[in-house]
């Protein structure tokens, strides 16, 4: 065969392509022999490998735990939006259908906002509801998923409000105060 010159890179890539396959076939005894031929210790190889893999598993677990915690925070915010809308509607003593008609939004969307914590309301609906209830700018938008990052303080206040809410037909004066304070908080918080 003609002695064509290949680059080191080409040689390396071709030969590397079958390393894994042949090493995978080796028996335990041969692996130990190969390691010792390299001046290595088989037990040390096991430990290094375990450390690399365990470390990666732990790192991803931490990343996923953080993501789950963030997701739980988002669910709380969505829940509060739904409950806040219910409270605002009850304050006016109107039904979902009446609200939909007056705010010129879809009644199905009103129901989804109030009851489905996975539902992301459309920006138009949020704006229409803010206009109808004469709320300060972006009060509902802050709870709607339009804002991706919330401060820790914001999250805390939302969680506190969620803990204090109750579902009843008419708002008591205490709940009216709670509602007004929370709307005030939302209007001030950046």
């Amino acid at each position: 065969m003609p002695n064509k010159k290949y680059s080191e890179k080409q040689k390396e890539i071709v030969i590397s392509s079958f390393v894994g396959e042949f090493i995978t076939d080796a028996s335990d005894e041969e692996l130990d022999e190969l390691i010792q031929l390299q001046g290595g210790d088989p037990l040390a190889y096991i430990e290094k490998s375990k450390r690399a893999i365990t470390g990666a598993l732990e790192q991803v677990s931490k990343e996923n735990k953080h993501a789950i915690e963030e997701n739980d925070d988002c669910k709380t915010i969505q829940l509060v939006l739904g409950k806040l809308l219910t409270m605002l509607r009850r304050k006016e003593q109107i039904s979902e259908e009446e609200l939909a008609e007056r705010a010129r939004v879809d009644v199905a969307e009103i129901r989804k906002i109030e009851y489905d914590i996975d539902y992301l309301a459309s920006p138009r609906t949020i704006i229409q509801l803010e206009k109808y209830f004469k709320l300060p700018d972006k009060v509902l938008a802050k709870l709607s998923g339009a804002f991706v990052k919330h401060t820790y303080a914001f999250q805390q206040e939302v969680t506190r409000f969620a803990a204090k809410m109750k579902t009843i037909d008419n708002l008591t004066s205490e709940e009216m105060e709670l509602l007004n304070n929370f709307i005030h908080f939302l209007s001030k918080n950046e």
Binding site: I15, E30, V60
Partner: protein
């Protein structure tokens, strides 16, 4: 509206639960194999110029498999060892090109046309054979075993039948191939591109 969608690739790729299970169930033999392979790429590709060691390469290969946002997913039907071998090969090649061990842009590795895939594709089969033959330097039977396995996709029984060799001779040849590969690992690495 915001529901998690079913994984459209569930039939082709293992789930994260399956990946974790496979990693947690690795045997000592498999740990050794993975570290030998990691060291091969680390040494052969002169990555010791970077901080860290071969362990970091294996760590990165496992991370890339586990992270759902940067998928190098484990394809069903492929052993976890083979999968991690492929991942380490790709990652080490990326590090060589970048001159660092960051993995920014590493998702591009897993597109079809990686640089390595292109090199192999550009080398026609005949040239690939030539490189392998030169590598074995006169060890004709070893070359034929490799040709049957890698280029013809044969399994052991088919190779032995094709070449007319028994199990013991086949094992001896494979041992010789492995020793030669590890010797190649330690050969002086040229800086030629």
């Amino acid at each position: 509206m915001n529901k998690i969608h079913d994984d459209p690739d569930a039939e082709k790729y293992a789930s994260m639960i399956e990946v974790r299970k496979a990693l947690n169930n690795l045997t000592d033999v498999e740990y050794k194999k993975l570290m030998i392979i990691a060291e091969f790429y680390w040494t052969r590709r002169n990555l010791q110029a970077l901080w860290g060691d071969a362990e970091d390469l294996l760590h990165e290969a496992v991370l890339s498999t586990l992270r759902s946002d940067k998928p190098k997913r484990w394809r069903r039907g492929v052993s976890i060892i083979k999968h991690l071998d492929q991942a380490m090969r790709n990652i080490s090649g990326h590090w060589v090109r970048k001159g660092c061990n960051e993995t920014e842009g590493i998702e591009k590795l897993y597109e079809e046309k990686t640089e390595e895939n292109l090199v192999v594709a550009q080398l026609v089969a005949k040239e690939t054979l030539e490189i392998i033959k030169n590598f074995f330097n006169g060890d004709e039977i070893a070359f034929q075993v490799l040709e049957c396995r890698r280029l013809k996709g044969m399994v052991e029984s088919e190779v032995r039948q094709e070449l007319g060799i028994g199990h013991t001779e086949y094992e001896t040849i494979c041992k010789r191939i492995r020793r030669k590969l590890l010797k190649f690992k330690n050969q002086e690495v040229s800086n030629a591109k």
